[in-house]
Symmetry: D3
Subunit: 205 residues, 6 copies
């Protein structure tokens, strides 16, 4: 690998860094002034993709990798929310990605382009899981924004539920609609109250 | 897969969502008031891990997956910066992860625990790439904070450079130290100036 | 005026409110994590337009009005920064505006569309001043970001200077390049120091 | 126009830039931690003023211009919220403006002072529209904060409704109280859901 | 006092400054993205401690001082929220404080260590008031977050109420549960509405 | 103590909570978009006051208490920065405080009013230390903003140095001008680098 190729790797990594700043701008419309970044969304999408792939019998690590790269082209186009879809024509993601990876070592560039191509559809079990993970991440986020008080996110929830396609994704969405987003910490927070009060923990003797 | 298992998947995904809020608190020490989240860091770590793995001859998708999950336990422990290391003893990451995944389907839980175990060291080529990607992400971020004016991040740069271990990681770090973080957009911004000015693009006839 | 027309006026005003959330996303590329909104940019553009119009012999109030509305269509398309220009094709601003104003009273709709048409070029003295004010606002902002420590905004400064067209705009740009952005408050802050110190104000007896 | 006058124009424009940082601090009292800036408020006030003026038979462009400058003096005094009114005596806005414009070309200075004088009352149809636009902007903002979950903004809504004076302003306020702040994007968001789901748009065949 | 001791005082003060950046991270779990800092919490704790001490017959100034220093060690350990308590073992606060004050003049160091020791329990009336003030500050904050729309803070309220120990603290907690957090400004805001409307103030003739 | 008095204590504590939202607005002028709150400033002022009082032979706990309450009246007046001083006349702090404490138990109210009176000048050794602590806190903050890249804070540094009056305060200011704000964590960060690199700590065998 040449020095020039390492420089290209660093350059692409700095470009990826731009997605740490780039907000998921669709939430602005819903009144969320400081929404999460595309990087944050992409990360949890990968986590969910991993779970879905296991359940769906797809390759989890391939699914995770598709998820990680599924919005990379947005470093150049930005996140285009629903309102913008009618007014903006974006270069296909794979074409944008081609520009982004052009100086990378050939094998890496080929790999990322293949991932970009997969992310565009549901052509493989892994791509289908990644696509659903993308929607489910948004669904969970909408549910979390609701708990913060935001009252305009229901259309996002409805859209995302209706966009899920795999059997596993649908079961996940159903569970998400019934879940309490704070369930994971509720028990820990409750036991903390007992600690503060100097009471024995539940079940303690 | 049972309903209860889907509920557990949703619960873990909401827990992962907590890392979208959780800041990389070490940067507060360096005077960065609103630093990036652990989720953002984890995401770019995965991107860099992909690049390193290709160059190092490791499995890129496995590396990406280790990177995605490498800080999952911080949803429970928080990010412990250098200053805190002397004062806090944290439960081993793999033990925290065991609590986090306990209600997931057995195969998924096993998978995540295996990833957590790998992330703790450099026992495989993939783990070694993930470890270096973790450090290199921090290095690039420090360089970017420098460009924003922050004058106290040099110790982070030095620490990260000295912590990298793979041959590829070292070459990447060297390139990073010489790179201009804004190189990826410089040409696009410059051509924009020509567009604004109504001048032909460079090389145009 | 009908109730339905008042409802449309309220609807358009809420849509305009979206520009209070919408960030000037180009600054993210320059490493500015929390840049100003399109509304903020539009407001100071109007102030500058007023100054230029006086100097250029254009109608100040017409110029101000063009400036106020010059980015209204971005409520639907978002702000497309330089990097995105190569990858996104946007519906012409006047066409977007047509959708935005369709339910307004006819005279108001016609007025806003005329303003949108003017904002697209330099067809009148007022439009030319508004166009330059748009660039000069960005130039001043870049200078202010520099004072905050940001080291990557020079390309914005260069672009904006080269994009200005009126004689007055060029003189303003020249003055801006030589000005200290903090000059307006420097004297007041200095006299405050004397007050704190219990010293007589400069020139006092 | 002299170089010194251009320098003064730049200086005033940087001073105006301070209103991009200056928050509408009254909202802090209502529990809104990161409220909009005075610049953002002033901008939407101008948009609303344009709509009102058309409906009220006032000169729209003059109204817009009054709105743009109506809080300029707050660059020096800050925004004084209701709680502070009992405890602070502010120099009259026109007197503050006199200091702000003193080095501008005479005609510009005169123009801004005239605008400042008008903004203080309802002496002309345009001033009356601008005054009402100021209140209505705050009313719409309060409604938007309610949709974000804030439960303490009703006093702002009541105050603003009761402060509106023109016939048109009253009709606008009535429509605002009945409106759904998200109406403008609801249809676009809904159709997006259909796109995601791969269904034909409503009315399609 | 030596120069070296003054240097140490400055160093400790800069370390304290770190608590202006350090967020009360437990609120992230409750979905509060940008919660208050440890410094802000400590300050209001001191105000509440002053009130409690008067009511409880403790020394108010000593209580205030315990409150001010009660979280100083978190400059090194960070704020460890309920979820983390099961996974992290922290060095005792007094031991951390010993490192923090080691270069201070002996009397100052001794004083701060004594305060740190007191803050750990309820060994004196002042310490008991400070401990309760710490919990009550969190209780009031939770109530304020509720008014901002947050729907997941009830466990914090319950925990804090149950953790209060002094008679005065319990009466304060009871009053807090019944209070409207906005009561202090309600009358001022209402009279402002009358001012805006040009009506005489209540009771005016 | 009556229920009504506890309600008043809660009301005052919520009012104090407003200072957790209220920014030190003077920093906006220096280009600091998101400066610290008055609560944060007050807290570190108290810490510094404690250090100064020890050195100056004043009562440390009384000094701390003066510092904690020294800006309480700003919950009603806001922070008035240097630029505003020429244009705003504020009700004397002690008079504002009288309104704030009017429903508190008489002894508490008397205590707070006495503190407010002291905070206005240098009438006792404790008041003089508190006054200097107020200035020195601002000085340290300015130094910290400089390290974050801000280039317009020197006038704040100069003002604060010149406003300090006690012998101890002057020595502290001198030390502050020579200090590196990051000195307190430098060694810890450096040793962290060695840990990451797997090297023995300095001085280890």
């Amino acid at each position: 690998m040449t020095e020039s190729e390492f420089r290209a790797m660093v350059r692409v990594s700095h470009e990826a860094g731009h997605l740490k700043h780039s907000k998921r701008t669709g939430w602005w419309i819903a009144g969320i002034k400081d929404p999460e970044s595309i990087a944050e969304h992409s990360w949890r999408t990968a986590v969910i993709g991993y779970l879905l792939a296991h359940a769906e019998g797809a390759d989890p690590e391939r699914t995770v990798t598709i998820c990680v790269f599924h919005d990379l082209q947005e470093a150049r186009t930005g996140d285009i929310p629903s309102v913008g879809k009618s007014y903006l024509a974006a270069t296909p993601a794979a074409d944008v990605a081609r520009d982004q990876v052009q100086d990378l070592p050939a094998a890496v560039a080929r790999g990322i382009l293949e991932l970009a191509g997969l992310a565009g559809g549901r052509s493989t079990a892994e791509a289908a899981c990644a696509k659903d993970a993308d929607k489910l991440e948004c669904l969970l986020q909408a549910r979390e924004y609701q708990r913060q008080g935001h009252q305009d996110v229901q259309p996002w929830i409805d859209s995302m539920v209706s966009a899920v396609r795999t059997k596993t994704g649908k079961a996940f969405a159903k569970a998400a609609l019934e879940a309490d987003p704070g369930e994971w910490w509720r028990e820990m927070a409750t036991s903390y109250g007992r600690v503060l009060a100097g009471l024995p923990a539940a079940g303690g003797s």
